[in-house]
């Protein structure tokens, strides 16, 4: 029977508890462990299922030092799982190093008037340098000014990432924070929120936004 994969972890907790319909098991893979449950098919895309999936991830995050969540719906055979990670030990180790002992906080701009920017036609690059500059900007879009106060908390974060708005999800600024600094971060976040009513924050979560796509 295939394995439904929740996350990759760097250490195997003694027990993880129940998954969606069976017990979660830790399977040794190259560079770590995969938190899996045996399942015949992909779970239905329903809110209850998503919540149950998220609860497994958060439980793992409270049990293992480093948790790298994988995409919802990842169902693989044992061979496929092993093959997918076979040559990616270095990549997985870097991912574990980034998220180990850290939590994610999420900021969103709630003020009206921040819809996704319309796709626009741009003129061809005038030179190679121009092309590379455009590519760099597209790969790492800067947060809009509405996130300025939230960005000030970057001093308390180990990493920061911005995801521009899509048609269904508003733009978000993510901070990856050491557990030891999380209380200081939360306190500072409450202050920022008090002075910036157009911003909202949530967390802590597992490091979803900082997990590479390994499977």
């Amino acid at each position: 029977m295939p394995l439904y994969v929740f996350a990759l972890v760097d250490a195997a907790p003694r027990t993880v508890g129940r998954g969606l319909s069976a017990a979660v098991a830790l399977r040794k893979v190259t560079g770590g462990y995969a938190a899996v449950e045996r399942r015949a098919d992909v779970p239905p895309l329903e809110f209850g299922t998503l919540k149950a999936h998220e609860q497994v991830i958060e439980r793992l995050a409270s049990l293992a030092p480093a948790v790298v969540p994988v995409r919802f719906g990842t169902l693989l055979t044992v061979d496929e799982l092993d093959a997918a990670l076979e040559d990616r030990e270095e990549e997985l180790r870097e991912a574990f190093d980034l998220v180990r002992g850290r939590l994610q906080f999420t900021w969103r701009a709630t003020a009206a008037g921040t819809p996704p920017r319309a796709r626009r036609q741009t003129a061809p690059a005038r030179s190679g340098t121009d092309y590379l500059r455009r590519a760099a900007r597209a790969a790492h879009p800067a947060p809009p000014p509405s996130f300025r106060r939230a960005r000030s908390l970057g001093r308390l974060a180990a990493a920061e990432r911005f995801a521009p708005a899509t048609a269904i999800i508003p733009g978000a600024l993510y901070h990856l924070v050491d557990r030891s600094r999380a209380e200081a971060y939360a306190s500072a976040a409450a202050d920022v929120r008090a002075h910036a009513p157009g911003l909202s924050w949530s967390g802590p979560f597992a490091a979803y936004a900082f997990a590479p796509e390994l499977l």
């Binding site: 098919d41 992909v42 895309l45 809110f47 998503l50 919540k51 999936h53 998220e54 609860q55 958060e58 995050a61 409270s62 969540p69 995409r71 919802f72 719906g73 990842t74 169902l75 939590l103 906080f105 999420t106 969103r108 590519a135 597209a138 790969a139 995801a163 899509t166 048609a167 269904i168 999800i169 508003p170 978000a172 557990r179 030891s180 999380a182 209380e183 971060y185 939360a186 306190s187 976040a189 409450a190 909202s200 924050w201 949530s202 967390g203 802590p204 979560f205 597992a206 979803y208 936004a209 796509e213």
Partner: protein, 68 residues
Amino acid sequence: MRHARTGQIGHIIDPDESTVLDVIDNLLSKGVVLNADVILALANVDLVYLRLSALLCAADRVLPSRLR
């Protein structure tokens, strides 16, 4: 909105309070994998078995940035 509670951070992550938006953002922003099994048969004889895996995702989350 789930706000962190001072004194509990680092020890407890309570998923019951996360919002719909957080769940969607955390779990679905990178897309979902949909699997399907297709069996082509003729006269009750299975001839072809296809296992399909599809990634359902906003294109701008999976395409290389230069293609956006």
